[in-house]
């Protein structure tokens, strides 16, 4: 039984309690989610290290062999061992395709970023940047499919590529198209963040618009631009599907741009389901996954180191 007095106090305290409740509920949800993200990252890393080091600890291969040998013939039955686990072809394939993709995409992206921020900011903000951002969201299988049906036959017929058009060139172009929007968006945001007074000062000293752009704005935005490039590079490095569809997956070093080869992600994707769990082949694939993880960690660290240097008002 409640008397009227206590009922009154309960009624009064409801808004306070709700506020209190909201305050702490919100805070705890956010905290739990934040901690969960950290736990997830750490556990994925730990799992990859556990699986990926099996090649070296359980099967006794050397890290040197894994990184620099091209002898890839791991055993795929039970716990038999004795095959080679040299992943040099895959590593080289990843580095080569990403390098060329970057060489193609970076100048284009930088030019596009300058255009939409400095040359034509209105059109850029309203039309071009949203259009470029839509590109970021296109699933990689779509890029791969277009590459397979348009680019590969084109390369075969135009350059008379020896292996049906499946080539380093095709993979690099597909990757370049994929990372172009990432680099452009990040670079454009970074250029926008350069304080207006920098530009005003440059104009005040008598610079032309172009002189302002390449002497003042771009150097000031350089850390952000590099961040964009590294982000693009890490996307290219981790891309499996689109590359796998056009690279040909031949287990050999490419004899040229028009020749097929293989890369880390495509090789993992091709064999992960069929290889025997815990076998030499399977663990060698895990080692390649670990290598990809370490490389992407490296990229993230580079981004953190570089982005600290950027001065400017916006984050």
């Amino acid at each position: 039984m409640l008397d009227s007095k206590s009922l009154g106090t309960v009624k009064k305290s409801i808004p306070e309690r709700r506020l209190f409740y909201k305050e702490y509920m919100g805070r705890s949800i956010v905290t739990i989610c934040g901690l969960f993200m950290i736990a997830l990252t750490v556990s994925i890393g730990a799992f990859l290290i556990y699986k990926g080091t099996g090649t070296f600890t359980r099967y006794g291969h050397s890290v040197f062999e894994f990184l620099f040998s091209a002898e890839w013939s791991p055993m795929d039955s039970g716990t038999q061992s004795g095959g080679g686990v040299g992943a040099a072809i895959y590593i080289f394939g990843s580095l080569l395709t990403c390098g060329i993709a970057l060489a193609i995409a970076a100048p284009f992206s930088l030019a596009a970023a300058i255009f939409i921020t400095e040359i034509s900011p209105k059109l850029g903000a309203r039309l071009i940047q949203p259009a470029v951002e839509i590109f970021v969201g296109i699933p990689s299988v779509v890029y791969g499919w277009v590459g397979l049906t348009v680019l590969v036959p084109f390369i075969r017929d135009t350059f008379h590529a020896p292996m049906g058009g499946y080539s380093v060139l095709a993979a690099s172009i597909v990757l370049a198209v994929m990372i172009f929007p990432t680099i452009t968006t990040v670079a454009a945001d970074s250029i926008r963040c350069v304080p207006v007074m920098y530009r005003e000062a440059a104009y005040g000293l008598g610079s032309t618009r172009w002189q302002t752009i390449y002497r003042v704005t771009i150097p000031a935005a350089a850390p952000g631009i590099i961040t964009g490039i590294v982000l693009g590079l890490s996307r290219a490095f981790g891309e499996a599907l689109a590359v796998a569809m056009v690279i040909g997956k031949t287990r050999a070093f490419p004899a040229g741009l028009l020749y097929p080869t293989n890369n880390l992600t495509a090789a993992i994707a091709a064999d992960m389901g069929n290889s025997a769990d815990g076998g030499e082949h399977n663990l060698a694939l895990w080692s390649m996954a670990l290598l990809l993880f370490l490389i992407s960690m490296l990229f993230i660290m580079v981004i953190h180191m570089v982005s600290k240097k950027q001065e400017g008002v916006c984050e």
């Binding site: 949800i29 039955s77 050999a252 064999d271």
Partner: protein
């Protein structure tokens, strides 16, 4: 405030997604059992004879289309039983059935080839059907027959031009499957006499569909797929080996050797529902469906054909 709202919405969305995934298998038997009880009111004997429960299977992508068709047909006959089939590859299927996460592990190869002997000993093999592999070339190439030696020379890259094996003057483009593929293992054993394919001079494709497309697009290409991919497909040309065409009849009578059993493994004898499903897959009623999809019915294999594969 807005942030919290966004977060709550995002959480709700994730929860809804998770719930959606989980309930798919959970609600189906419930819904179908409700339908089952209404009909069983009039015929109470039916309920005791039909199979109940759930069966999960994963593994071989070569067997997946057939297992999927079998699951649909089986669920129609036994509405109280739901069968879920996933792909993932033979290695995945064998691993998952061995550790008990699925009821049935589908595999292109014997469990002993992928698992430790002690683990494989705990699994029971059901050879639900056979699968026949055929070399295929581009339709415009004009080659329809190769000797086994020619085939071996082509796939080991000793022969690199079609003119050496009676075709036009054209570079040979090898299109193969990954080393861990069951299809490749079968082809290597029975068509190439164990010779290793020249991986450094061939295009490797993850799945037979892509392989078909590559062969279709390149005049000089040669690859191999299961017959199930050639049903109703006239875009590529299958190649006879030593004059024997890759057909189901030739597989049954033991003249065409490039075939293997498709396995459904259970841990021990497996659950009642899993046993019933496998029995259904191997029944004479389902055999026509198996053949219509390009696989071979195990029951139709002649003793002569089976004896060629008993090493």
């Amino acid at each position: 405030m807005k942030k919290i709202l966004n977060l709550a919405l995002a959480t709700a969305l994730v929860m809804a997604l998770l719930a959606g995934c989980g309930s798919e298998s959970a609600t189906t038997p419930a819904a179908s059992s409700a339908a089952g009880t209404s009909s069983s009111a009039s015929t109470p004997t039916e309920q005791t004879s039909s199979v109940t429960g759930t069966v999960t299977a994963s593994g071989s992508s070569a067997l997946l289309p057939l297992a999927q068709a079998g699951a649909d047909a089986f669920s129609k006959e036994n509405p109280d039983c739901s069968v879920t089939v996933n792909g993932g590859g033979s290695g995945t299927g064998l691993k998952q059935v061995a550790d008990g996460s699925v009821d049935i592990g589908n595999s292109d190869v014997f469990a002993e080839q992928k698992l430790d002997a002690s683990v494989a000993a705990g699994l029971v093999d059901h050879q639900v059907c056979t699968i026949t592999m055929a070399p295929i070339v581009n339709k415009d190439l004009g080659v329809t027959n190769l000797t086994k030696q020619q085939l071996i020379d082509i796939f080991t890259a000793k022969t690199t031009n079609w003119k050496d094996v009676g075709g036009p003057d054209l570079e040979i483009l090898l299109v193969t499957r990954p080393t861990s593929s069951g299809t490749r293992a079968l082809f290597k054993t029975w068509a190439l006499d164990g010779a290793e394919e020249a991986s450094n001079q061939s295009l490797e494709t993850d799945d037979s569909g892509t392989l078909l497309q590559t062969v279709q697009q390149n005049k000089g290409a040669i690859g191999y797929v299961a017959l199930s991919y050639l049903v109703n497909n006239s875009d590529v040309q299958s190649v006879s080996i030593d004059g024997v065409a890759p057909t189901l009849e030739n597989t049954y009578n033991g003249t065409y050797l490039v075939w293997g059993f498709e396995h459904m493994y259970t841990k021990g004898e497996g659950s009642d529902a899993a046993q019933a499903f496998i029995k259904f897959m191997m029944s004479d009623d389902f055999a026509p469906s198996i053949e219509a999809m390009g696989y071979g019915a195990s029951s139709k294999m002649s003793t002569q054909a089976v004896s060629t594969h008993n090493k």
